[in-house]
C-alpha cells in the first residue's frame, strides 16, 4: 500500500467551528481559543495553497473535467460514470480518465472490472489503472490492503487523499476526466471544487431517480453547485420505468409523484438530458465489470444512455468552441 501523505499534523480533533488549518484566521478565530491545535495552526504558513499550482500543472493536459453528482446515494452515479467512460472510450481517438472520489464506498473499480488491481508509483507520479487502451482510472480501492477493508476517515484525511489524486496521478493527455463523487454535499465535494477552481471544471452532470425523496436531495446538490460556482450541465433521470421481461407491462417502480426529473429541471432552470429506464441487465453487467453498452447495444436503456452522452458532449464541446 502506498503511504498516504498526512493531510495535516494536528494533534487533536478540530473543534466544531474550526475555520480550517489553511484559512487565514487559523489559530486566531474564536473557536481556536482552547483548541489543542491552536499553536500548530497559528504557526503554519498561510495564504494560497502551495499545491494548487502543482494541481493546475498536472491537469493542464486534461481538456475537459466533468463531475458526476447527486445528493442522494444509490441513484446510479457510479453506474452512469462507468457507462459514460465506456461510451466515450468507444471512440478510439479520445483518451478518458475516470476518478473515484468515493473514499468510503468506492464502486467504480468493480463496475469497470478492475477491482483487484493496485496502483504503481513511478517518478512521474501514480499510474492510473488502465481498463482499456484509452481508459484509465483511479480509486482508493487500489490502495487497500484487503478488498473489504473499511476506510474510517474523517473529512480532513479524505481531503488529503483527494488532493493527492489530483496532484500526483500521472494521467498524461486526456480528453475527458470524469470524476465520480460520493452522495451528499460535504468534504469531498468542497475539496474537489476548491482544488479545481483555478484549473477549471467544465461542469457537473447531476443524476437523480424519479421519486420525490431523491429529488429533495438533488435540489440540495444543485444549490451546492450554485454556491460553489460549478456549472450544472444537465440532469439525468435514472431508473425511470421498468418493462416486465415476462409480459412487457410497464411499471413505475419509483413513482414521479411530483413530476420527476423533468419537472425539477424546469423548476431549477437546468437542462434535462433524458430518462434511462431500469434494466436488470445494467446491474448485472456492473457486477461483472462489463460494458452494458457493448453487451446489449440494441436495448432501450443503451439508446437512452447514448442519447444522454451525446447531449452531454454537445454541451461541453459546444461551450468550449
Amino acid at each position: 500500500m502506498i503511504a498516504i501523505e498526512k493531510a495535516n499534523k494536528l494533534s487533536a480533533p478540530e473543534p466544531e467551528h474550526c475555520p480550517g488549518p489553511e484559512s487565514n484566521s487559523a489559530g486566531k478565530a474564536d473557536a481556536c481559543q482552547g483548541c489543542a491545535n491552536k499553536d500548530i495552526c497559528s504557526s503554519l504558513p498561510h495564504g494560497p495553497d502551495p499545491d494548487i499550482p502543482l494541481i493546475n500543472e498536472r491537469l493542464s493536459t486534461v481538456k475537459h473535467k466533468l463531475l458526476v453528482l447527486s445528493g442522494k446515494g444509490g441513484v446510479g452515479k457510479s453506474t452512469f460514470t462507468s457507462m459514460l467512460s465506456w461510451a466515450l472510450a468507444a471512440d478510439e481517438e479520445l483518451e478518458i480518465g475516470a476518478m473515484d472520489l468515493d473514499i468510503c464506498g468506492p464502486s467504480l473499480p468493480k463496475m469497470l472490472g478492475c477491482e483487484k488491481e493496485s496502483v504503481h508509483e513511478s517518478n512521474s507520479g501514480w499510474s492510473p489503472v488502465y481498463v482499456a487502451d484509452n481508459l484509465g482510472m483511479m480509486s482508493i480501492q487500489f490502495m487497500l490492503p484487503d478488498q473489504d477493508s473499511a476506510v474510517i476517515w474523517r473529512g480532513q484525511k479524505k481531503t488529503g487523499l483527494i488532493k493527492q489524486f489530483l496532484k500526483d496521478v500521472d494521467w498524461g493527455n486526456l480528453d475527458y476526466l470524469i470524476i465520480d463523487t460520493p452522495p451528499g454535499t460535504t468534504d469531498e465535494h468542497l475539496s474537489v471544487s476548491t482544488f479545481l477552481k483555478d484549473s477549471g471544471i467544465d461542469g457537473a452532470l447531476v443524476v437523480t431517480t424519479p421519486q420525490e425523496v431523491a429529488l429533495l436531495d438533488v435540489r440540495k446538490e444543485v444549490d451546492f453547485c450554485r454556491k460553489a460556482g460549478i456549472k450544472v450541465l444537465g440532469l439525468v433521470e435514472n431508473m425511470s420505468g421498468f418493462v416486465c421481461p415476462n409480459c412487457g407491462g410497464k411499471s413505475r417502480i419509483f413513482k414521479p409523484t411530483t413530476g420527476g426529473g423533468k419537472k425539477l429541471a424546469q423548476d431549477l432552470g437546468i437542462k434535462f438530458f433524458g430518462s434511462v429506464p431500469l434494466d436488470p441487465r445494467i446491474g448485472k453487467s456492473c457486477d461483472s465489470g462489463q460494458s452494458f453498452l457493448d453487451l446489449y447495444p440494441d436495448s432501450p436503456a443503451s439508446e437512452a444512455i447514448l442519447d444522454v452522452v451525446d447531449s452531454l458532449r454537445d454541451e461541453i464541446e459546444g461551450a468550449a468552441e
Binding site: 445528493g71 473529512g155 468534504d187
Partner: protein, 278 residues
C-alpha cells in the same frame, strides 16, 4: 458535562437504541428505518427516530412531517417533532432546522460532528421504548461521531445492516461490517432490500438487482440474516402521497401501513431483530 463511562442524559429514559447502517447509498436505509418504526408503533411501542444524515435528510419526508420544526424547551433541550398528539412517534432531523427544503447543508466534518453531538446530548426524547438512528452512507465523520457518542451507552442493542442484492452494494456493506467490528457495534442482522419486483400485471417476480446477495453475505460473515424485502410500489406510493391518502381514507400512516403488503414482511423481520437484541 458527560462523565466518561455514562449513558448521555438524553438517552437515559430510552430502553433500546438500534442503528440502521449501510456502506452503500440508496439501498433503503431510510425506508427500512421508517418501516421498523411503523411496525414498532403498530405493536404499541413509543418510538423515536433520529436522522443523522445531515446533507441528505429524508426522515421528515418519510413521515410526512416536512412542515414541522424543532423547538427549544424551557429546561430540557430540544423537543422532537411529534407525528400527532399521542406523542407515540418522535422524530428529529436536520431537515426540521432548514428554512427552505431545497437549501443545502454544505459542512465539513467537524461541524457535522458538532451537530450530531448536539442531537445526541440535547434532545429531550422523554420516555421511549425504541430509538432508531438512521445514518448516511459510508464510514466517515457522522459514523465516527455517533460511535463516540454511543460508546458508553448501556442501552444500545446494536445495528441492522441494509444491503441490496448486487455485488456492488455487498462490497460496500462488507466495509461497514468491518467498521462495526472496530467500534464494537453489535450487528443484529443483515437485511436484503429491493430483492425482486413483482409485476403488477402478471405477478411475475423479476430480480432487478439480482438476488441472494444479502443471504450469501450473511453466511459468509456468519451473521443472522433478517430476510429479504421486495420492491413494493404500494409502499413508495403510500409514503409519497400520504397526506392525500390520509385525507381520503381518514387513517394515519400507521393504520395505512397495516394494509401494505410489506407490513407482514417487516413483522417477521422485527421479530428477528428484537429476539437477537434481547
Amino acid at each position: 458535562m458527560m462523565e466518561p463511562g455514562e449513558t448521555p442524559q438524553s438517552l437515559k429514559s430510552v430502553k433500546h437504541v438500534i442503528l440502521v447502517l449501510s456502506g452503500k447509498g440508496g439501498v433503503g436505509k431510510s425506508s427500512v428505518t421508517t418501516q421498523l418504526a411503523l411496525s414498532l408503533l403498530n405493536k404499541g411501542f413509543k418510538v423515536g427516530v433520529l436522522d443523522i444524515d445531515l446533507t441528505g435528510p429524508s426522515m421528515p419526508r418519510m413521515f410526512g412531517l416536512e412542515d414541522k420544526k424543532l423547538y427549544q424547551s424551557s429546561h430540557n433541550g430540544w423537543i422532537p417533532a411529534y407525528y400527532d398528539n399521542t406523542k407515540q412517534l418522535a422524530v428529529s432531523s436536520i431537515g426540521f432546522l432548514l428554512n427552505n427544503r431545497g437549501n443545502s447543508v454544505v459542512w465539513r466534518g467537524p461541524k457535522k460532528t458538532g451537530m450530531i453531538r448536539q442531537f445526541m446530548r440535547d434532545m429531550d426524547w422523554g420516555d421511549l421504548d425504541y430509538l432508531l438512528i438512521d445514518t448516511p452512507p459510508g464510514t466517515s465523520d457522522e459514523h465516527i461521531a455517533i460511535a463516540e457518542e454511543l460508546r458508553y451507552c448501556k442501552n444500545v442493542d446494536g445495528c441492522v445492516i441494509v444491503t441490496t442484492p448486487q455485488l456492488v452494494s455487498v462490497n460496500d456493506v462488507k466495509k461497514e461490517i468491518n467498521f462495526c467490528g472496530k467500534v464494537n457495534f453489535k450487528i443484529l442482522g443483515i437485511l436484503e432490500n429491493m430483492s425482486g419486483f413483482i409485476c403488477p400485471y402478471c405477478s411475475e417476480c423479476t430480480n432487478i438487482f439480482g438476488s441472494g446477495g444479502g443471504k450469501r453475505l450473511a453466511e459468509e460473515v456468519d451473521l443472522p440474516y433478517l430476510g429479504n424485502v421486495p420492491i413494493d410500489p404500494q409502499f413508495t406510493d403510500l409514503i409519497e402521497r400520504q397526506t392525500e391518502l390520509t385525507k381520503e381514507k381518514g387513517q394515519n400512516l400507521m393504520q395505512m401501513y397495516q394494509d401494505c403488503g410489506l407490513s407482514a414482511v417487516f413483522g417477521g423481520i422485527l421479530k428477528k431483530v428484537t429476539s437477537s437484541s434481547a
